[in-house]
Structures are given as C-alpha cells and as structure tokens.
C-alpha cells in the first residue's frame, strides 16, 4: 500500500481519509494488490526493501518536493545540488551504494547524474591504470564529472562531431580545440555550472591522420575556486521544457592540453611515439550508449508512464461528470467508454514495457558477459535491439503520457497535477541517447541484413529467426473469442512484421537492380524501413508479454488479470493499425470487426480492476507529487490547498501598484 501522507495537509481538512469513490474501487479487486506488487518487484523481500528506502528518503526534509512546482530555474538547480550533496552524506551514514535503489527513488531531483555516466565511461573504456587513478577521485567527489559528446551542430550522427584532439609528440599531450561554432559541446548535463572535469569526445589526429572519435578526460574548472580553466569557455545553455534542475552546458575548447594518459585507452591507445593501437572492436566505444539506452527505458520512461497512469486513473474515478442514467448521480468519468479507451490501453502498455525492459536487461547481461570475454558477436543484435526498443518505448510512452494528461481535462494542465512535468520530461527521451527515427533505421539495417541472411539459409540470432519462418496466409480466427488467444494475435503480429520487412527488402532490391544507387535507394525506403523496425519491436513486445503471462501459472489470480492486459495491449495495437493487418488480407474485414468487438469488451472487463492495477505500482503520494493522483483521492481539497501556497498568492505582486492602479485611475502617463 502506498504510504499515506498525513499531518501536513490534514489539519481541518478531509485529506487523509479516503474518498469513498476511490475506496469502493479497491473493494472489488479481482486479485491481491499486495501480491501483484511483490511479483512486479521480484519478491516480497524486494518490496520491503524498496519501501524502506522510499520511506527513509521521504522522511528527510532535505529531499522534500513540496515547493518543486513553484521554484525558478536557479532555485531548482540549487535544490538539486543540495540534494545530491546531502545524498552523499546519507550514503556514508546509511551504507547505501551507488547502484542502490536510493538513486532511483531520487533521480528526478538530483544534480550530478552525468557524474555517474562519467564514472561509468571510465570504468568501461579506461585502462586499469586510468581506473585506479580516476575512480577513487570521482567516488570521493574530489572532482565532479560530466560526459561531453553532443555538439551544437551534431547529435546522434557521431561521425559528424567536429571537436579535435591533435597529438603533440614533443610534449606527449593532446591539444583539444573547438574549430568552429557548431563544434561547441552543447547539452551535456552538469556541465553548465557544476562539473570540474568532463569526458570529451573528439576526432583524434596523429601525424595528420584522423582516427575517428575518441574519449578524453579534460579538466574544465579549478578545483580550488571553481573558476574556468584557461582555454575553456563554459556555461548553461538556458531554459528548456523541463530538467530545470540540471545545468545542461556548453563548452568551447581553445588549445586545451591534456597529457597522453588522459585518452581513455582500454580499447585504443596512442603510444609515446605516436603509434595508434587498437584492441577489440571499435564499436565498443558506443557500448556506453547501449547500456544507457537500456537502463533509461525503465527509469526514465516506464516509471513515468506508470505514474501518469496512476494519476489519470485515480482521478477518473473521483471526477464525476454528466449522467449516464437519468435521475442517477453523475457518473465517474472512467465509466465512459471513451475515457476507458483513452486510459486502459496506456495502462496495458505500461505493463508491457515493464516486461520488455526485463527482457532487454537479460539480453544485455548475457551480451555483457560475452564482451568481458572479448567476444563481440552479440554486439550487433544488442545494438539493434537497444536502439529499436528505446525508440519504440519512448515514442509510445510519450504519447501515452500526453493522453493521460489530456484525459484529466482542464486540471491536467495545472502543474499541480504532476502530469505536465511527467510529459515534458518523458518527451525528451525521444531525442536524447539517439534520435528515434535514426535509431529505428539502425534497427532496420540490422533486420534487413538478417532477413537477407535468413533467406539464403545463413544462421541469424534466435530473436529474428521468424523472418524466414513459414506462417499461414490467413488468420485462422473464426469468432471474436478466438482473438483472445495469444497464439492467434502473436502470429498476426509476426506475420505483419515479417511482411513489412520482407516487402521493404524487396523494394530496396528492386530499386538497386533498376540502377538506383544504394544510398539513394536506402533514403527512398526510409519511411518504410522505420515502420518495419517499429513493427518488429511491437511484435517482440506482444510476444514477450504473452510469454510472461504464461510463466505466471503459479499465481492464477494475477495471471488472469495480466492475461486481460496482454490481450488488450495486443488488440489495441491491431485496432489502431488496422491497415497493416488488413493489407494483404491476413486479417479480413469481418475479422477486424471481431478484433474491435473483443477489444471494446476488454475495456469493460479491465475497468473493474483499473484502480487496483495502478495501486500495485505502489507509488507514494510524495513520489507522485500530484494533487489529482493521491492515494486518498481528495482531489479538489488538495488542489485548493496547494494553489493557495503558490507564490503568486503570497508575494505581493508589484503589477497592481505599478500598472493596474494607474490604469484603473487613469493616471498612467500619456506616453
């Protein structure tokens, strides 16, 4: 159960006692919320631990989010630094670790997140000596790191980065430069104001030859007084849609010299005489990005989506509007089919993506073990999957959160609902760590390659063997209940994904055979290629959901509701993309009507468990920080009480004395 907020807001108000409209929803749950929570957490012990952590953090006033919605950019930044520093202290006191759950619980409010990427990139890309030198300094916060890759002129397309690092053999140093304005580093977090050091990605030149992108550790601010080092221009890039607490920065380098030992050299090294040595795959430099993409799916995307669902669904059983039956009380808006159709598919997607993130983590762990053994075979698949799923999950979830926001009517637009900040935050994930369209195309490149290999009988990774599988030409479903069979819909997705990949590959081949140059042919097919990659990821997500449900046989209560959600996720996908399933007649027009009927029936079924299904995510009120989504459902009271805390109601605005009063009294000087 979520920890209830009591005391602070409850003097003389209803806050704390549960709104009967919400209480009634919890009495009819078809399953045990506590059991579902434990299962999602991976066991009751994990749940207990997570709750203890959250409680420890939320009891600490330094971590309070109470004024978050009222603070300026400067105040948010200062609070983030304060909290990050305080967390360090707590970690020492409590014995928390860098990878512990405390970070997760707080990450939305902390400075120095890039410091962790800095550290991680050194452990992954640095030599043993480099690790021995830098990691203790970083963990002791003797320096604060950032990770500077993106430039003003280039983002996802890494080869286009323009910063240079020229090896000077006489002094055994690299000379780093920003050759023109578009080469300025732009966006790296923690770099605008906080960082003293940063990993800079630059084009390496030795003896006039370019060796491509390499990482260098560069000090940018004094460790004494924090002033900028010579040759460094750095600052904050200004306000954004969100992340106001983070000082995303710019960085210009003018003849900045770093010792030879500052190039991270686990996989590549420049020797004292200028010889360039490479060990292992060059792709390994991008491995940090693969790691980040996979971990961001859960932390930055799925969790925010779960929060948005929690807020919107709880609010939708408290909000009553209009009448469904004459003479009765106004109906809960969640009882309207259109409202169910907005929210319940997003809830199903939150579960689907929670499971796919598990799947990816397993795939990644396996790949990582191989890489440790210097076996890079899994890299292409890992890279393709992390790209495609990052793109699909972020794109889908972003629109899902926006749907949740708009499903809350006017109150959704109040920052106090918590939804605008969830949206503006999640929406950034479509761009950072790789722009989604480019990522889909990277996945597509892998899929086309696998398809070609598979069709000539060569071995392909198990996840894509379906590309060569023979499936029936027509969907065998006879009535609407058949579409509640995972085999039926999984096969439909498989057929659709294989068809799109197959037909795009054929078109590419046709174009090339008709004399079009390869790159032109590729550009002419990119819209289709992106669609094919998305279809592949959608298929794997459905398949993985169905398999997850199957493994739940020991917990029948949970299995039943998860099966409903899986069905809903799958059928919603067919319903919303009817054209691609109808296109070659795999699903007929009559079958599509069955899909629609089953889909709409499911909405009414899941409606009954909607609130328990979001309760199971187990967010505390303080974590949600939403006037609409609190556990007790005292929506209106809370909105009213929170609004009164707004600075606009406390501080005296000079506007009245200065402008309104003269206007009202016609004393405004006549220009």
């Amino acid at each position: 159960m979520a920890l209830m907020e009591t005391g602070k807001y409850s003097q003389g108000s209803l806050l704390g006692s549960v709104n009967p409209d919400l209480a009634s929803e919890r009495q009819t749950a078809s399953f045990s919320v506590e059991k579902l929570t434990a299962w999602l957490d991976g066991g009751t012990e994990h749940t207990r631990l997570r709750r203890a952590v959250v409680e420890a953090i939320e009891c600490d006033p330094v971590f309070s989010r109470e004024n978050q919605y009222f603070e300026s950019q400067n105040e948010r930044y200062e609070a983030a630094v304060r909290k990050a520093v305080h967390l360090q202290k707590k970690m020492d006191e409590m014995g928390w670790t860098e990878n512990g759950p405390e970070f997760k619980a707080l990450s939305g409010d902390l400075a120095f997140l890039l410091h962790r990427i800095f550290t991680r990139s050194i452990s992954m890309l640095g030599s043993d000596q480099q690790i021995a030198k830098w990691i203790p300094l970083a963990t002791q916060y003797q320096l604060i790191g950032s990770y500077a890759q993106t430039e003003l002129g280039h983002g996802t397309y890494l080869q286009g980065l323009e910063t240079t690092a020229v090896f000077d053999i006489t002094t055994q140093e690299f000379v780093l430069n920003t050759p023109n304005i578009s080469a300025m580093k732009w966006w790296p977090g923690d770099m605008g104001r906080s960082a003293t050091h940063t990993v800079v990605f630059a084009q390496l030149y030795v003896n006039g030859k370019c060796y491509g992108l390499h990482p260098f550790i560069v000090q940018i601010r004094s460790l004494q007084d924090h002033s900028l080092c010579p040759g460094i221009t750095a600052g904050d890039i200004g306000p954004k849609m969100n992340f106001e607490h983070i000082d995303n920065g710019y960085l210009m380098l003018q003849n900045v010299r770093v010792p030879r030992e500052n190039m991270l050299s686990k996989f590549c090294e420049v020797q004292p005489d200028g010889t360039y040595v490479r060990r292992g795959s060059q792709k390994i430099n991008y491995f940090t990005m693969t790691t980040v993409r996979i971990s961001l799916i859960l932390d930055e995307v799925v969790i925010p989506l779960m929060k948005a669902c929690t807020i919107a669904i709880r609010y939708s059983v408290v909000r009553r509007q209009s009448k469904l039956k004459p003479g009765e009380q106004e109906a809960k808006i969640l009882d309207y089919q259109t409202q169910q159709e907005k929210l319940l598919p997003q809830l199903a997607a939150a579960y689907a993506f929670y499971f796919i993130s598990d799947y990816l983590q397993e795939l990644f762990d396996r790949g990582y073990r191989e890489i440790q053994r210097k076996n890079f075979d899994m890299l292409p698949e890992l890279h393709a999957f992390s790209s495609g799923f990052k793109a699909m999950v972020t794109q889908y979830s972003t629109s899902a959160v926006e749907i949740c926001l708009r499903a809350c009517g006017g109150h959704g637009y109040s920052l106090l609902s918590g939804l605008p900040s969830l949206y503006t935050k999640i929406v950034a994930s479509c761009i950072y760590e790789g722009e989604n369209t480019i990522l889909f195309l990277q996945t597509a490149r892998f899929l086309i390659k696998c398809f070609m290999a598979a069709s000539t009988g060569q071995p392909v990774p198990p996840s894509v063997t379906y590309l060569a599988a023979v499936t029936p030409e027509k969907c065998p479903a006879k009535n609407k209940l058949d579409f509640l069979s995972p085999d039926i819909y999984t096969e439909a997705y498989q057929h659709m994904a294989a068809r799109l990949i197959n037909s795009t590959a054929a078109k590419l081949q046709d174009l090339v055979q008709s004399g079009v140059k390869k790159h032109d042919a590729w550009n002419q097919c990119t819209v289709q290629l992106a669609q094919a990659a998305k279809a592949h990821c959608h298929y794997i997500t459905v398949k993985n959901f169905a398999e997850t449900v199957e493994k739940l046989e020991t917990q029948p209560g949970i299995q039943k509701i998860m099966k409903h959600l899986c069905d809903l996720f799958a059928l919603h996908g067919i319903f919303s993309n009817a054209g691609v399933f109808l296109h070659d007649g795999y699903i007929s027009g009559a079958q599509m009507d069955m899909v629609t009927a089953s889909y709409l029936d499911l909405l009414a079924v899941i409606r009954k468990d909607a609130v328990p299904l979001v309760d199971a995510f187990d967010f505390t009120d303080k974590t949600l920080n939403s006037a609409l989504g609190s556990y007790d459902g005292q929506v209106y009271q809370r909105l009213y009480e929170w609004a009164q805390k707004s600075p606009t109601n406390k501080q005296i605005s000079p506007a009245y004395e200065r402008y309104l009063k003269p206007l009202l009294h016609k004393t405004l000087s006549k220009l």
Partner: protein, 627 residues
C-alpha cells in the same frame, strides 16, 4: 499602424520571457496590456479584427491578463445586457475602470454546464441575489484574469427564485474594492498556481459566501427576474449556440496559425541543419533532404494550409448566417453548431500532435526554449480542453450525424455536409456498388479523393448507427447504449470532419487564379488527402473503397509528392509571413543564423548571471572538504 511600428515600439520591449519567473512574466504582460489599451485609443482603433492583430503583435500571440476582459466580458455585456445595464457597466468597462472576467468553469465541472453548482438565490425582501459557492467543487476555477487582475466577474450560477431552480444564468459580480483592489467581504479570490504554459495569465479561483448583489446585476436582455421574484423565460435557447460557434471557429483558426508557426520553425531549421551523409564522400546534406524528415514535416505543412481554409470557411459561414439568426431564422444553426464542435476537436487534436512532431523534428534543440516551439505547444494545447472538451465535442457531432442517418433511414432527405448519407439507401439496393467503387478512385485527382473520404465517412456513420441500434435492441437504456457505442461514434465524427476538410481544401483550389500558386497548393491538397488515407488504410480497405494495390500506390505517391514539394518548402512557410519577433524562435529565424544566435541567447540564461554559481560555495565546496 504598420506592424513594424508596433513590434519595434520601445514601450513593448522586454527581456526574453524565457528568462523570467512567472510573477515577472505576469507583470510584463500587465505592463504591456495597460500601454496597449492607451495606444489603441490613441490610434483610434476600434475594429475587432484590428484590435486582434494589434494585440497579437504586442503580446506576440501569447495569452494576456486582459484577454477575458476584452474577449468575453465586454462582448457579453453587449449581447446579454439590457440598455440600462449597458449604461451602468459598459463605458466604465470600456475605460478600464471596471476590469472583468467570465467565470463559468468550476473545480468540479467544465464542459458539462448543467453540473455547475454555484447558486444565486433571489431575495425579494431586499431585491438582491445571494451568491454562494456551496461546496469545494463549486469554487470557480480557471477563469483567466480572475486571480489578480479583475475587479468584476460575470459569474454563471444556478438561479433560484420562488423556491425553484431556473438553470444557469449570468450575473455581474464586483469582486475587488475599486481603489484598493482588495477582495470584497464575502469574496475569496486568488491565483490557481503554475500551469503548463500560460505563465502570464492569472487564472484564478473565486469562492463566494452569501455575497449579495442588486437584482439589476443579473444580465437580463433575455431571461428576467422581476422585483417580486417572477421568472420570465428567454425566447430561444439556441441563441447561445451563436457565441459557441463563433469561439470554436476562432480555435479552428488558431489551430491553423499555431501549426503554421511550428512548421515555419521546423522547416527553416531543417534547411539550415546539416547532418550525416546521403551520398558517400559528399558534404553533409540539409536534413530536409531526408525522406523521413520530409515525411514528418510536409504533411503537417499541408495540414496547416488545409486548416487555414477550414477556419476561413467557418468564419464566413458564421457571418453569412448570423444575419439570418438576427432575423430569427435559426434553421442553419444546428448543423453549423454540430460541424464546428467536431472541427474544433479535429483541428486542435491534429495541430496539437503536429506541433510536437515539429518540435521533435528539430531534435535536441527543439527541446530548448530558444526554439520557441515549447511555448507554442503549451500555449496551444489547452484548446483541446477549453471551450468544450474534444471527446465531448466529437460526440456532439456524432449526435447530429446519427440524427441525420435516422432521418435518411426513415425516408427523409438531409441537406448540407451530411447529404452523402442520402446515398446510403441507394447503395443497399445494389450490393455490388461498393466493390465497383474501388476501381473508380483516381489517386491523382483531389475530386475523386473527396469521394473516397465521403464513402469512408458514410460507412463509419452507418456502422456506428447500426451498432447503436444493436445495443438498443439489447435491453440497454438509451444512455447506456450511447456510451457503449461512443468509441465508434467518435470514429464516425472524425471521418466526417476529415471528409469536410478534404472537400473544403479541394474546393478552394478552383478559386486560386495564379497558376503557379494553384499548382503548388494542388500538390499540398493531394498530399493532405493521400497522407490521410495512408494513415487510415484500415478504414479504406475494410470498406472496400480502395484495394491493396491502390493503397500501395497511395503510399508510393505520398513519397513522390514529398520530393515534389521539397523545393518549395521554405517558400511555403515564408508565405505564412510571420515576423521573427512574433515567431519568437532562434531556430526559425528568417535569416537562418541559428548557431551563433543560440550561443548569444544562452549567455543570457539566469544560471549564467555569475561566473561561479552560488551553489558552489554553499554546497559543493563544503562537501569536497568533508569527503
């Protein structure tokens, strides 16, 4: 005055709003509004359209605290006040001694007006109305300008007289003391706190406790309460449709404008940004040369043009029939009302998604406030909710469509935009008709595509109506059946609106006399229609309107059109003629000098005010010394 004069007027200059706090933004807006009012008088501007343009240059298309005073309070006085009331209130309001707002929405109810709970109880003994907010949910919530700016409000409340509820009526309520601007006794008023955008607007709350106003403060041009409490009914309740149609038509126009602004920024930036490679060995191409980028932006450009024409059509139609309305002929009003509701929803949903698509097409820099798109988005997105929540709007249109369908089924003919429903009965006699139709669609002919959209709308309206009937046959109450069909009904409305837009766009082409302009707009019209098909292939396939092979052709043709439009893309957004100041975007500058100006802009960020941020001394340094 010419636009440059307003835009360059030193009185209207200020620091970039992105760097200001909410209170500071509110203050700047109030400052500019006050000056604006004086200058309007000075220039002698009274025409509503001219005032609108003046305002939009002064405030650069942003909301401002006097919006409700100018846009709702004054017009409502004009249309609903008696001559005596106009004498009392209009001139003081015109002269800004009275600043008013329009308080309708409550915390607990928005679009569903009948659910509003504020009460106005008539007391014949004192000839006063007693206003009350009986519950938390009845607190007025959201009205613009209510929080801090206004001293009066037109309050909508349930009227009680002689012990009976007479429904919603409008009352002029003073809320702040003239002179001190302090809230009056019995009035609790304030700002509702920070929102997603609208930083310069003091959206407010208002709670009334036994607050008394004279009988003469009820707006009584139509309904009246006589001194003894006798209630006199208004003549027609359809009249209120007129205002709603008008405001919703403004939103359709706003959808076009907001989407046009976002397209201008994204397309200009895409011509400036170079990235990756298309051909090995060649310089990095403009990102606008990538098919995926064109596929994101050009259909939106076409949509912006389409909505522009739709907005103009509704406005014209409204003006055409408002004469009839004045003379008591309300026959065309229901259809226009139903159509406007749906189009308001359709265009605001589409534009809302389109603005975000434009922003994301600008990559990371779109996310910076310097791109201007976050601001366009947060300013526009509430229009999906205000003036009628979009889903509810779609269902209103659906109600009209089902009614028309029922009329046709019972043998009557219908007229106007729904007249295609008349064909349905004929089709049923010829089962082969639908199949025969598919080959008839010519994908390069806008007129033929209008027919395809018409067929889709007819099919979805029919399907929804039949499903509704089936639900009704199954024991269900009318309301239940309606609710269980509402997803189908929304789809039907969307298809109907989509058809209307394609039809209006196509009709517009014939009016363009310049051949080159007509040619490029024909390409945009085709793109709009074909892209819509490719995004909704399921509907066209399932109804047998198009074949698999035709869908493949449609998809192919869309991509060809992208390449055809590419050379004109920048010219097509330049034609929207947004001034740089109005656009408010570093990425969308007319001169395309993006990177230099981003750097200049960033230097002004509040975090950069000092070389070393105070947090270093306060937090970082002490921590480092302890570890």
């Amino acid at each position: 005055p010419p636009r440059a004069l307003v835009i360059n007027d030193p009185d209207f200059q200020h620091e970039d709003l992105n760097f200001l706090s909410r209170s500071q933004r509110y203050e700047q807006a109030i400052r500019k509004s006050s000056l604006m009012v004086l200058k309007l008088r000075e220039y002698g501007i009274t025409d509503p359209d001219e005032i609108y343009w003046f305002k939009s240059f002064v405030h650069r298309g942003r909301p401002e605290p006097l919006d409700l005073h100018l846009g709702m309070f004054l017009p409502t006085l004009l249309t609903q006040a008696t001559p005596e009331q106009q004498d009392r209130f209009f001139m003081p309001a015109w002269n800004l001694e009275i600043i008013g707002t329009y308080a309708q929405t409550e915390m607990g109810h928005g679009t569903h007006l009948r659910g509003l709970e504020t009460t106005a109880t008539y007391d014949p003994a004192t000839q006063e109305f007693i206003l009350n907010s009986p519950t938390v949910t009845s607190i007025k919530w959201w009205p613009g300008g209510l929080g801090k700016t206004s001293n009066h409000a037109i309050v909508l409340a349930q009227l009680y007289t002689q012990g009976q509820c007479k429904g919603l009526h409008a009352f002029i309520v003073p809320i702040r003391q003239l002179g001190t601007h302090e809230p009056l006794p019995g009035i609790t008023v304030g700002d509702i706190g920070p929102k997603f955008g609208y930083d310069e607007m003091d959206n407010g709350y208002l709670k009334m406790d036994n607050f008394r106003i004279p009988r003469e403060n009820m707006l009584m041009k139509y309904a009246q309460v006589e001194p003894d409490g006798t209630y006199v009914k208004p003549l027609s309740d359809k009249l209120t449709y007129g205002t709603m149609v008008f405001i919703r038509s403004l939103i359709v126009g706003d959808s076009a404008r907001s989407l046009s602004r976002a397209c201008t920024i994204a397309i200009r930036y895409s011509a400036v940004r170079h990235q990756s490679e298309l051909k090995p060995g060649e310089p990095e191409p403009q990102i606008l040369d990538y098919q995926t980028q064109q596929y994101k932006l050009f259909p939106l450009l076409a949509t912006a043009y389409a909505f522009h024409f739709v907005g103009a059509y509704i406005k014209d139609t409204y003006h055409r029939i408002s004469g009839d309305i004045h003379e008591g002929d309300l026959s065309e009003l229901p259809e226009l009302h139903a159509l406007t509701a749906g189009l308001k929803a359709f265009t605001s949903w589409t534009a809302n998604a389109g603005i975000e698509e434009c922003r994301m097409a600008c990559g990371g820099h779109g996310y910076s406030r310097c791109s201007g798109i976050p601001d366009i988005y947060v300013t526009f997105t509430p229009s999906c909710t205000y003036e009628g929540e979009n889903t509810v709007m779609m269902l209103q249109t659906a109600r009209f469509l089902v009614k028309s369908y029922t009329q046709v089924s019972s043998g009557q003919q219908v007229t106007g935009m729904v007249s295609y429903l008349n064909d349905l009965s004929r089709q049923r006699i010829q089962p082969q008709h639908v199949a025969a139709r598919s080959v008839a669609v010519r994908i390069n002919d806008p007129v033929s595509l209008v027919e395809a959209y018409k067929a889709r709308a007819a099919r979805l309206v029919e399907a929804a109506a039949k499903n509704l009937q089936a639900e009704l046959n199954h024991r269900k109450s009318k309301e239940d059946a309606w609710n269980r069909t509402s997803v189908d009904l929304v789809r039907a409305s969307e298809a109907h609106c989509h058809y209307v837009i394609v039809k209006l766009f196509t009709a517009k082409l014939a009016e363009i006399s310049n051949a080159a302009v007509r040619a490029v707009l024909t390409e945009l019209c085709l793109l709009y229609a074909l892209y819509g098909i490719s995004k909704n292939t399921g509907d066209f396939l399932q109804a047998g309107i198009l074949t698999d092979a035709q869908i493949t052709q449609v998809n192919q043709r869309v991509k060809e059109l992208l390449a055809i439009i590419r050379p004109n893309a920048v010219a097509l957004v330049d034609s929207f003629d947004f001034h740089d100041v109005h656009l408010g975007s570093v990425l969308g500058r007319y001169d395309g000098n993006v990177y230099e100006n981003m750097f200049e802009w960033a230097k002004k960020s509040p975090l950069n005010k000092t070389e070393v941020h105070e947090s270093f001394h306060k937090h970082l340094k002490p921590m480092q010394s302890k570890l």
